[in-house]
């Protein structure tokens, strides 16, 4: 094959592939963007979030869609890499013209695609934890359902105090919020006569954390806060068991999710406390999520993914328009205020069509946003690992 033939062939192939795609882009269902890690370090979590989003979309489509249109999720893989994510985001906004991008996980990916989003007036909904994200000049386009570091650290520390733990060790995978989290927890714990006896920030993706564990155990803690993701959490839990540690262990539900639980023996995990943001005790949003996914204990990310789609669809129905700016402006009119409390998109869409006001309370909390796009307050759900199952301790 001659070089020119090859080159023109490659270009022709690219255009040929794009043409039917563009033709389909006209009319048809309402397209929403999903940009989430399906490969790379975040790939454990992306597919679960995607499934949760798709489940809501299916439910709403079955109930007649939004503004009389069916909804389709356009999914791109962010590869847990900011460079690939930016290209994918450019495709979602430039080719598909989606009004919202949901599902970014790594903070670096969210920060990288954020400018693409606000430049193109596209909403961005994320679980990323870095405090800096909502500080960006995003003109209101970023909505973060993950509670801020301050909110999490404060509430989690208060819970740890309530268990009677006095000497807390803090083990965190290297993230933008690892150190801030520790500082805030230290302040809350010390006010309550407890303290952080050792804080260690470790590297991700190691096959063993024995020495890190040794250094933590040398301080004789009665509670260890594991601010981890699932691959490193698995290793840490095993190494803690091997070292004979029997005190309390506390971690995020997204790290200790149902899949992590399945991959570990019960003797290693029993007694671990997993936490996730939650709506009020009397809300049935979480129960609906359990039913929709057919999962006994959906984790924090599945809950947040559910809420992104629900908020987006309600905002579209409310504003009767489908642009990113309209969604941005309408979110707070359906997520907070004096409207009727609803726990699912289908329920809310029905009321909105009847001309009523709604206040969406989601599976990951009340979803009331401040002007920066952070959630104002939420409750937390604490569960106890028992076998591969979870027992609800309390929601406070």
């Amino acid at each position: 094959m001659k070089r020119r033939t090859f080159l023109s062939g490659a270009a022709g192939l690219a255009v040929g592939l794009a043409l039917p795609y563009l033709a389909r882009a006209q009319g048809g269902p309402l397209k929403l963007g999903v940009l989430t890690p399906l490969t790379g370090a975040g790939a454990q979590d992306g597919p679960r979030m995607l499934k949760a989003m798709q489940a809501v979309v299916d439910e709403v489509n079955k109930a007649g869609g939004v503004l009389g249109r069916q909804i389709a999720l356009i999914v791109e893989d962010d590869q847990t890499n900011p460079e690939a994510a930016v290209r994918a985001a450019q495709k979602l906004v430039g080719v598909d013209g989606v009004p919202v991008i949901m599902g970014t996980w790594a903070s670096a990916v969210t920060s990288a695609v954020a400018p693409v989003c606000w430049d193109s007036k596209t909403c961005l909904m994320t679980v990323s934890g870095a405090d800096s994200i909502t500080q960006l000049p995003h003109q209101g386009y970023i909505f973060r359902t993950q509670p801020t570091t301050t909110l999490q650290a404060t509430k989690h520390a208060e819970y740890i105090v309530s268990t009677g733990a006095k000497k807390v060790a803090y083990l965190a995978v290297q993230t933008p919020f690892a150190v801030t989290m520790k500082d805030i927890m230290t302040a809350v714990l010390e006010k309550n006569g407890s303290s952080i006896v050792r804080g260690v920030v470790y590297e991700p993706a190691k096959a063993s954390y024995r020495s890190e564990i040794d250094s933590v155990l040398a301080a004789k803690p009665d509670m260890i806060y594991l601010n981890s993701y699932s691959p490193d959490l698995t290793v840490l839990l095993k190494d803690l068991f091997r070292a004979g540690y029997t005190g309390g262990r506390f971690t995020q539900s997204y790290a200790y999710n149902a899949k992590t639980a399945e991959s570990l023996p019960a003797e290693v995990t029993d007694g671990l406390v997993a936490v996730q943001p939650s709506s009020d005790v009397d809300s049935n949003a979480y129960a609906l999520l359990q039913k929709r996914l057919g999962v006994a204990s959906p984790d924090s990310y599945e809950a947040q993914a559910t809420d992104w789609v629900s908020l987006t669809l309600l905002a579209i129905e409310k504003s009767k328009k489908t642009s990113g700016a309209d969604i941005r402006d309408a979110v707070r009119s359906i997520s907070q205020g004096s409207g009727a409390r609803v726990a699912s998109a289908v329920e809310g869409l029905k009321l909105l069509r009847e001309g009523k006001d709604v206040n969406y309370d989601g599976a990951s909390g009340n979803c009331d946003f401040n002007e920066k796009g952070d959630i104002i307050d939420c409750r937390f759900r604490y569960s106890l690992a028992k076998g591969a199952k979870f027992e609800l301790i309390k929601i406070v």
Partner: protein, 286 residues
Amino acid sequence: MDVLQLIANGMMAGGVLAVPAIGLAAMYSVLRFPNFAIASHATAGAFAGWIANASLGLPVLPSLIVALLAGGAIGLLTDEFVLRPFRRAGFITTAIGSLALTIGLENVVRLVFGNEMRGYDLPLARDVVLAGIHIGPQQLQNVMVSVVVMALVFGFLSFTRMGKAMRAVADNPPLADIKGIDARMVARIVSFMGMGLAGLGGMLIGLDSSIDPLTGFRVMLPIFAAAVVGGLGSIPGAVAGALVVGVAEELSLLALPPSYKSTVAFLAIILILAVRPRGIFGREAY
């Protein structure tokens, strides 16, 4: 922090790296290119072992053999059909080809098994305390497995006909050719052996942690660091290098925060190579 405990921890971490590092060294000694596909083959072996252990209910030891055979078989096939043609284009093209191969295979695993983490069906043992140092019985086993593997590979290369043929090819391919040694057969055997050890190593790593499509990729750099520190292509060097890298990473905790751990492997390479440009045992071709 207790220095002896850190050294013990480093030996246990290094012991797991040693097995795939031996595989890498064996392949390098004959094929003369850094085979980055070791990452995906380690993952593939780990998943094969997982099928044997968690799905078919085999005990761990036979499952390890399944991991070895699967890694070896895939290694043989991919070398024969994918990498071999690249070798005449130079080692760097082959190395890049092996990087592309590793990404492809990682995603074949992802396509079939998904991204979820999986754990082996293996009850965990608590550490035992010996002279004030706590050691994991399973980790001790891993170290012993790598010593046995090293002895076997070493014995195979030193005393068997095929092993000698391999060393001949490694030393001087044209001469080996004249002597009637079938270089292609040697390449096949070393690919099977090297990637088999990668698969075995992948499962050993998985026994300590858990497995997912990135299992092999996560340990790729330390494995390469081990092989380089020991001297590329040297079997005892691979074991020594793995232990040096493992221990150096742990000892670094005395001076550096844990989030700097991985840089230590790189510093170890630079330091060792500054003193001995061919690594600890780099002179030997086997």
